[in-house]
Symmetry: C2
Subunit: 568 residues, 2 copies
């Protein structure tokens, strides 16, 4: 269990602070995570990794010469927000483009994906590379659906080595994709970890049993058996991985035997002894193996074996020197330290000049955000109750955290003279950054789309509002991949946007058009009670949610109806 | 708990095999442990560390450029034998002398001390440096009695850096002693670890409680309190260590925050955050801190803080580059690998030429060992029962393991044409190496002293036997530090040696003299029932042992009486 913490909610921030204090020669803190303190080559490709905290040395412990240029550090077992990823990537970029790499989990895909869109939109070439090494999580036919576990390290290592070796952008992406194709892992667990302050472990395994293929956050395994001997576990690992080898593999392989937290070094060495024998018996040559804690899950009891099938190019990159806080090998060049002034930190508080009319519009937008905030705060408990029927019950808390942060940022922007577009941009970033989860990301892009439409110069007309809402709808559907009928906020957003556009186009004043569209939104939200969710982790509970409306659809309808009351 | 193992008794050997297979670029296996695979400078001082297994990265993980030249790897939580230490030191020696360093525990002091004597006797300059950083284990007035815990690393690091920097032998010893004086640690524990195959943990701490100052093998702590917050633990650590600073400390300090096994990295970083703040508030500058698992105790839940008070010389050595399996920093030179032929492995099976008369004597010595073996094996259970009254009950098992190994080695030596001296030397080494514990070491030196007296050339006369027994008695008393009346085997050995010498000097044939002395030995063994032990861990239980004879005294009396039956 996790015993040492202060306020559980501050755990991730505090561990980041301690980590940065401990490794000043390796990392510098930037908003959202850390970047290398070693000065990189100008123009080299920047490798930005990340994920939830609780997996040290993944991810921040892997930032340094020969490895990643930056890591976005999310909350415990939670994806970093798109804003965090964006901010770290901006600070890490050396003008040579960015590769974002992370384990394949829905939340990470969403947030890193969104950051990539923003970076590309700003002219920073950005590519996503998800790691999919866990052979237990999907079949060979659906290899792209596999999760990323300890094999993250091989892909990150190849990315970092290729970038530091001066590979072109295209070649970094190519060789790292190849590394992911050549990396296969299999894991087992004996006991789950307990989050700071939690009363129960995240999952349990019956005493004396071992769960096969269980994920690093307690995602279901594929089977259960008695705890084997060390040799038997080695045999199981090797058999599983030799039954799932990549095409064109050679006879040289890097081996990672990873402890998840409380399977200790001595046990790992006993297991490794047999793994080594078995691979040698197959005529395989082992190159630079790693035995230790490479990707943990707090104090989870478990272990995984990774085989990384090398060719000449991958072997060179795998064995290249590296100097990160928690992964070091070979002879690196002494690093010149980056000076503070050389770190490009995105100033999220910068406020570009705005016209008088746009500043007036910003005031009205703030008023709309204020009534939105009051509505969410008043109804947070009810939203949580609805969400708990088939989800994890955090919709109310997440929305409240998001809207409070957005209001705070919007007020500061207004005080600083922001136009409507900038005020919305600040509110959008703050919402996405603080709310966490999927709804935070979706509200972030929705407000971001409004921001783009409103700008900081022109008067905001009724048709601008309608166009902005339509743009917001498109962004939400693009990012969230949900369609009408999936029992999400999209079921409300689509009829609301369409009704608003139609009424404005027909010449209705904004107040009237919005009120009509809001009524349609409420009807649509109520109608989600008859739907079954199509997406997300709640799938096994889908049936159970029949008769209850969707929480995200409900909160959206509440908001548009509340905003209706204050429109001029 | 420790879940992954095969035969528990093979655990230490198997983990060594796996460790060596995983790190071929760093270490080579030699009898008793490992040495660096990087080719060292000829004539440089060799730093040999060691201790029980189960503390990884201590000790074998700390062998490499800039750190130790070799590590003797004992069984789980048990000192390596003198033979293991000797063998590793011989292989690590580069002609510049050896420094043996280890945490201050009775078993290690005994075995390393004995190895040092043998090395010095062979002309290899050898010095002992015990690490005594644990401020909870003894007061400032008895600072030399303190245990060694995570602060081992600072002393080892200074030793290795000084040796690799080309320091003279005297200067290596001086600066490392100074490093030990400047290193202070304090530890806490939340839960004990479980040895492979054991049903119960080595110790327990009540749920919700934290034990202060508890040793890494479960040695008693100084107090118990509720588990604090991370910040409160940082405050406790810093307060304890700032109340026990070395004389002449400066304002620069290296900081080690160590996890014992299941207090994980994220928790350590949260604690480190506050430690860093508190030390900074005191105006201290922190140099190259380390936060992680530096000295574990299998999966024990605990943590310790070490402050290493630097001066200019220590700071330079602390920050010098290092490249060991589990501790790496800075820019080391690319290492030239040692070739197999350059490793000086002591051939313990070498048999020097012997005369006919000495080979005859060897046959009679083997007969004595055989009757010794039968006696011990027949009485092992009874010896265990006597030992369990006030000790840990393993005397019978240990003696049986020792004598079986000695018999095996003696038979092989005889088959190879050994004289009496060589046969006894092989038997002595095998006994000490395999029996473990204090009695193993003492029987090893006893047989070793006989070996010296007998030699491989001359006929063994009655007075040679008497002289050999007297030499054995002296060796046992010198190594074990026990006197007559302490309730140990010395209570038997002293009257036996003296009676034998007197009777032989008076002209009695060996058989008669030995029989008389054996009777005196039995009386002395029985009389130990009236004594209270003065030494060792059994002290709290001393009273309880009144009325029961000492197990070591009893087994010795049994042996000399058994040998009496076969003397010609």
């Amino acid at each position: 269990m996790t015993r040492l913490f202060n306020e559980p909610s501050a755990f991730a921030d505090e561990l980041t602070e301690g980590f940065v204090a401990a490794y000043p020669h390796h990392v510098r803190q930037v908003p959202g995570g850390v970047i290398r303190s070693a000065k990189p080559e100008a123009g080299s490709v920047a490798v930005v990794i990340g994920g939830g905290s609780g997996h040290y040395p993944a991810f921040a412990g892997l930032v340094g010469q020969g490895l990643a240029h930056g890591a976005a550090m999310g909350n415990l077992f939670a994806s970093p927000s798109a804003q965090q990823v964006y901010s770290v990537a901006k600070a890490a970029d050396q003008g040579g483009g960015v590769v974002l790499s992370f384990g394949n989990y829905a939340g990470d895909v969403l947030h890193f994906g969104q950051a990539a869109e923003r970076l590309n939109a700003e002219g920073i070439q950005t590519t996503i590379l998800t790691v999919t090494d866990d052979i237990a999580s999907a079949s060979k036919d659906e290899i792209h659906k596999r999760r990323g576990i300890a094999g993250d390290l091989t892909v990150f290592k190849i990315l970092g080595a290729a970038a530091d070796a001066g590979y072109s952008y295209e070649d970094v992406v190519r060789v790292a994709g190849h590394a992911n194709d050549r990396t296969r892992s299999f894991g087992v667990a004996f006991a789950g970890c307990t989050l700071p302050g939690a009363k129960e472990p995240l999952f349990t395994v019956p005493a004396g049993k071992m769960s096969l293929g269980l994920g690093i956050h307690g995602e279901p395994g594929i089977s259960e058996q008695d705890i084997p001997t060390a040799d038997e576990l080695a045999e199981l690992f090797v058999a599983k991985l030799l039954a799932d080898v990549p095409e064109g593999k050679g006879n040289r392989v890097a081996v990672l035997l990873n402890g998840l937290g409380t399977v200790k070094y001595e046990e790992l060495f006993v297991v490794y002894r047999r793994v080594h024998q078995l691979l040698a018996e197959q005529g395989l040559e082992i190159v630079d193996p790693e035995v230790g804690e490479l990707c943990t899950s707090l104090d989870m009891a478990g272990a995984s074996l990774t085989l990384f099938w090398l060719d000449d190019e991958l072997e060179k990159l795998w064995t290249d020197p590296v100097d990160a806080p928690a992964f070091r090998k070979g002879v690196v060049k002494a690093a010149e330290q980056l000076s503070e002034s050389e770190i490009q930190v995105e100033d999220v508080h910068a406020i570009p000049e705005a016209t008088e009319v746009s500043r007036d519009a910003a005031e009205r937008v703030l008023a709309a955000l204020q009534v939105t905030g009051k509505t969410i705060i008043d109804n947070a408990e009810e939203l949580g109750r609805i969400d708990a029927v088939a989800g994890d019950g955090d919709h109310g808390i997440g929305m409240e955290r998001g809207v409070r942060a957005a209001l705070d940022a919007a007020q500061k922007a207004l005080d600083g003279g922001a136009g409507a577009g900038t005020l919305l941009r600040h509110a959008a970033d703050a919402w996405a950054d603080r709310a966490g989860g999927t709804s935070g990301a979706l509200w972030g892009v929705a407000l971001g789309a409004l921001s783009e439409t409103f700008g900081d110069t022109d008067r905001v007309s009724a048709s601008d509002v309608a166009a902005g809402i339509t743009a917001a709808k498109d962004s939400v559907m693009h990012l969230g991949k949900a369609n009408v009928g999936d029992k999400t906020m999209v079921d409300v957003l689509v009829p609301f946007a369409s009704e608003l556009s139609d009424r404005v186009a027909a010449g209705a004043p904004l107040r009237e058009a919005w009120a009509g569209a809001a009524t349609a939104a409420q009807e649509a939200a109520d109608a989600t009670a008859d739907l079954v969710p199509k997406m997300g982790r709640a799938r096994p509970l889908a049936e159970k949610s029949m008769g209850t409306p969707d929480a995200g659809a409900t909160s959206l309808a509440m908001i548009v109806n509340a905003v209706a009351t204050i429109l001029a």
